[in-house]
Structure formats: C-alpha cells, structure tokens
C-alpha cells in the first residue's frame, strides 16, 4: 500500500519534472528566436496591438477603480492614526510595488493570454502549425517569439499606465471626495517613491510578461498532446489551464521577487 503510494508519488514527480524541462526548453527556444528572426518586427507589432493597445481600456478601468478603492481604504485606516497626509505615499507605493504589476499581469493573462492560447490551440488542431513546419517555417519563431517580445514590451508599459491611473483614482477619492490637501497628496508621493520602487515594479512586469506569454503559448502549442481531451474541447481546456497557471505563477513569482527586492 505504502509502496504503491510512493511509486505513484514518484511517477507524478518525475512527470512534473519532465514537464518543467519541456517547458524550459520551449521558453529557451522562444527567446532564442527573438534574435534570429529578421521578420520578427512586423509580427511583434501585430501582437503589440493585440496585447497592448486592445487591453488599454480594461487596464484604465481597473486602474481607476483600484486607485479609488485604495484611496478610500487608505483614508479610513490612516484617519484613525491622524496621518491622512500619508495617503499619497500609501496609494503610490502599494500600486508601484505590488498592485500595479500584479493586477495588470492578471488582467492581461485573462484577456490577452487566453486569446493567445486559444489562437495557437486552434492553429494546432486545424493543421496550421503542421503547415508551417512543412513549409520549413519554424513555428516557434513564427508564433511564440513575437508574442513573448510583445508581452515583455507591453506589460511594463501597461503597468506604468495602471500606476498613473491608480494614483489619479486615489486622488479622486482622497482629495476630491474626502478633502485631503492636494499638495500634501502629491508631495508625499514625490517624497516617498524612489527609483528602486519604480524599477522593481517594472522588473516584476517584465518577468510576468515572460511567464504569461510562455505559459499561454505553451498550452496552445501542445493542445494536441493533452490527455484530458481532444479537438475543440482541448482548446478550451488549454485556454483555462493557461490562465489558471499564469495567475498562479504570477503570484508565486511575485512573492519570490518581492523577497529579493525588499
């Protein structure tokens, strides 16, 4: 009984390890071809539009509400200690260090990542990836590398927009609704935010971009190898796995990065 359980655990661990190795090789292949494909610029622009420009509205929406909630919660916490003047610091540091990169990445995983996984998955089950291979077109270079590059570029940019809009959201509630002094709000932001905070947030955004793009492309690319389903159902399952795994990895890597950066 105990032996069988151990055997199952061992098989499970080996399979996961194999999967990790496979994923790492896929990631390396995707990165390698960023530098080797001359035509990557045009394809990356197309992906930048899909990942970046088309996600802008939702990022603005989430950013403003996130900032407003932070302003509201921050105000009622700080007022107990008589330090509402620190609201600008609280809102900006929370956004720049944590909520900006994490929420942006989670939103993008749900919006752009799921679409990447589904699109590549459909290409797989309709022989489009096989067609690329028989035309001697490297399918990883064609499909994965531009998406990785687009995510690495657009995640920090969208994070920056999220941060700025979030700070404006905090201003709306803190200053315009609850009456904090406008000068104090912005003075505290300028006094407390350092380049390390901004850089740390961008670093996180870049790592999240790499993770989301690779996980979503990987799930889509190997849709045909899923054991739980085939055909269109496999595309649906691949998309779900891509989003769930991306979110878990975003939060796990956020913890690791925060530990290193602090």
């Amino acid at each position: 009984m105990c032996g069988k359980l151990l055997q199952r655990l061992g098989t499970f661990a080996l399979l996961r390890l194999q999967l990790l190795g496979h994923f790492t090789l896929f990631f390396c292949a995707g990165l390698k071809h960023i530098g080797t494909t001359a035509k990557i610029f045009g394809r990356t622009l197309r992906q930048l539009y899909a990942v970046g420009a088309q996600s802008l509205f939702v990022i603005l929406l989430i950013g403003i509400f996130c900032g407003m909630v932070l302003g509201l919660q921050g105000y009622y916490t700080l007022v107990k200690f008589g330090s509402v003047g620190l609201l600008g610091s609280a809102v900006s540091l929370t956004l720049l260090r944590e909520l900006g990169p994490v929420l942006t990445a989670i939103m993008l995983a749900g919006r752009a990542g799921s679409s990447m996984a589904a699109e590549i998955g459909v290409m797989r089950i309709t022989d489009q990836i096989d067609a690329l291979d028989v035309m001697d077109i490297n399918s990883v270079a064609y499909l994965v590398s531009p998406r990785i590059l687009a995510c690495v570029v657009s995640f920090p940019l969208l994070t920056a927009i999220f941060d700025v809009i979030g700070i404006i959201g905090g201003y709306l509630t803190g200053v315009l609704m609850l009456g904090i002094n406008s000068g104090a709000y912005f003075y505290r932001i300028a006094a407390s935010v350092t380049l390390t905070d901004v850089g740390g947030g961008f670093l996180k955004a870049i790592v999240f971009g790499l993770l989301v793009a690779t996980v979503c492309c990987y799930e889509g690319y190997f849709t045909h190898k899923r054991r739980d389903s085939v055909g269109p159902e496999a595309v649906g399952n691949a998309t779900t796995s891509a989003v769930v795994l991306s979110c878990v990895l975003i939060l796990a890597s956020d913890y690791i990065l925060t530990s290193v950066l602090l």
Partner: protein, 272 residues
C-alpha cells in the same frame, strides 16, 4: 533537366505510440506520376501522408524520397529535402490571420528576400492558376471549403515542389467543385510533368479521373498497388465491394425501435 523524385516505402509500420495503423507496407510511388492512395475512413491514408512529409516518424521501416530517408537525415539535409515538398492539407490549413495573398506567398516571403511587388505578382500568378485571383485580399474565413482547398493548393505549388502531396482534395466538395479540383490537379500535372503527385482520397470518381498509380490501404495493410486498370480488374472481394460501393452483406436484424416511454415523452414534447 532535373529528374523527378520517387517515394519508396520499405516495410513501413505506421501508427501513434503503440497503436499500429498500417503494418509492413512496401510500395514505390512512381516518379512524375499521379499516385492515389485509396482506402476507407481511418485506414491510415492521412497518417501515411504525415509520415511522408516527416511530421511523424514510422514505428519501423523506412520512407525514402529520392533515395533519402527523412527520419535518418541530418537536420540540415532534412530541411533541404522538405523544401521540395508541397503539401495541401485537408482543409487547406491557411493561416487565419493572413489574407489569401499573404498565405500563398508565405513560403517565399519567409525564405527569400524578394520585393513586396514581386511576392505579390508571384502570389497572384498561382492564385490565377486556381482561379482565385479576385479573392487575393480575402481572409480564409471569408471563403468556401473548396476555395480554401484551392488556395491551399496554390500555396503548396508556389515554391515549385518536386513532390506535391494532397490530403483529400475533393472531400466535402459538391460533384462539380470536386471535378474542378481534379481538372486542376491534371492541369498542374501537365504543366509540371516532373512533379510527383500523391493524392490521398476515398473519392472513386476522382480516382477514375486522375490516378496513374493506385495504392489501396485497408485492414491494417496494403491491399493493392498497381495501375487503375489492374484495380478495376481485381477479383479481391473487399476491393470489389469498395469499388462497387457495396457494404458487406449484413441484415441489420439487431436494430431496435425507440423505447415506448421515450416515444411517448417525445410526442408530448413535439406537440407542446
């Protein structure tokens, strides 16, 4: 003048993992001719095509194209050999994000440094061959199944292949469009007489029009190989059934009528 290429299958075992689809297949698809691979659904025709293109490796035996085995070639040589293959996939396998013109020009635009105008002219040349030049700016989802197949054919021939592999080019098409596709393949064969063509099909009308060599797969093995005339004269019972479109004699005595309870419920729902 360059020689045409032949495809030689030596004791090939095809399958996925441990599941064997076709075993001990030995045949030669002659150079410069149209070979039709025939067989019922699920007999391994498309699987064989995927093995010939090198997308899958045979479980045993060897597949040689112009005397070279794809599965044992060095990666560089494999790439060089693959460049001479043109493949038409079942539904065309056109990239959904590209227009027809971009799809067709893809093999050239990815590998050659040609001017945009040259690429466009070349794409239009092959699109004209398949009578789709007026649809060059359309996306694949805006086309019918037959048009997608013809566009897939245009993409397969744009790089001037030595071997053209077509996976069920007439399946799912109405008789007129299917006949049109057959005519197109015959016209291409006249235009490129050194091009070896392999067509996977289970369409008997198509077989009669285009086949110069026939390979029949079924029951996990090769059932016949030879000329169309030899196939028509065969006395093999399974092949006769196949050619005469007869099913094996079966009386279907075990068919059951709908359960009365379900029938009653169904009636009530239909009348509601």
């Amino acid at each position: 003048m360059q020689e045409a290429w032949e495809i030689s299958l030596q004791q090939v075992r095809l399958g996925y993992g441990e599941h064997v689809v076709v075993d001990n297949l030995t045949a030669t698809l002659p150079k410069g001719k149209i070979s039709v691979i025939l067989g019922g659904s699920g007999c391994g025709k498309s699987t064989l095509l995927k093995h010939i293109t090198g997308l899958l490796k045979p479980l045993a035996g060897s597949i040689q194209i112009a005397g070279q085995d794809l599965s044992t070639l060095a990666p560089k040589d494999r790439v060089r050999l693959r460049r001479r293959l043109g493949v038409l996939f079942q539904d065309g396998a056109l990239l959904g994000a590209l227009t027809l013109e971009e799809n067709v020009a893809l093999p050239l635009s990815e590998h050659l440094h040609l001017k945009r105008e040259t690429l466009k002219a070349e794409a239009l040349r092959v699109l004209r061959m398949v009578e789709l030049e007026n649809f060059a700016t359309f996306y694949p989802h805006e086309l019918s199944g037959g048009m997608r197949k013809r566009a897939g054919l245009a993409r397969a021939i744009i790089a001037n292949p030595k071997v053209l592999l077509c996976d069920e080019p007439t399946s799912g098409l109405d008789p007129i469009t299917a006949a049109h596709m057959d005519d197109l393949l015959l016209a291409l064969h006249r235009l490129y007489p050194k091009m070896t063509m392999v067509v996977v099909s289970h369409d008997l009308a198509s077989l009669a029009r285009i086949a110069q060599f026939v390979l029949v797969l079924g029951q996990g093995r090769c059932l016949f190989q030879g000329s169309l005339q030899d196939l028509e004269n065969t006395q093999d019972p399974y092949l006769r059934e196949f050619l005469e479109r007869r099913a094996q004699d079966r009386e279907f005595t075990d068919l059951q009528a709908i359960d009365p309870c379900v029938q009653k419920a169904l009636e009530a729902w239909l009348n509601s």
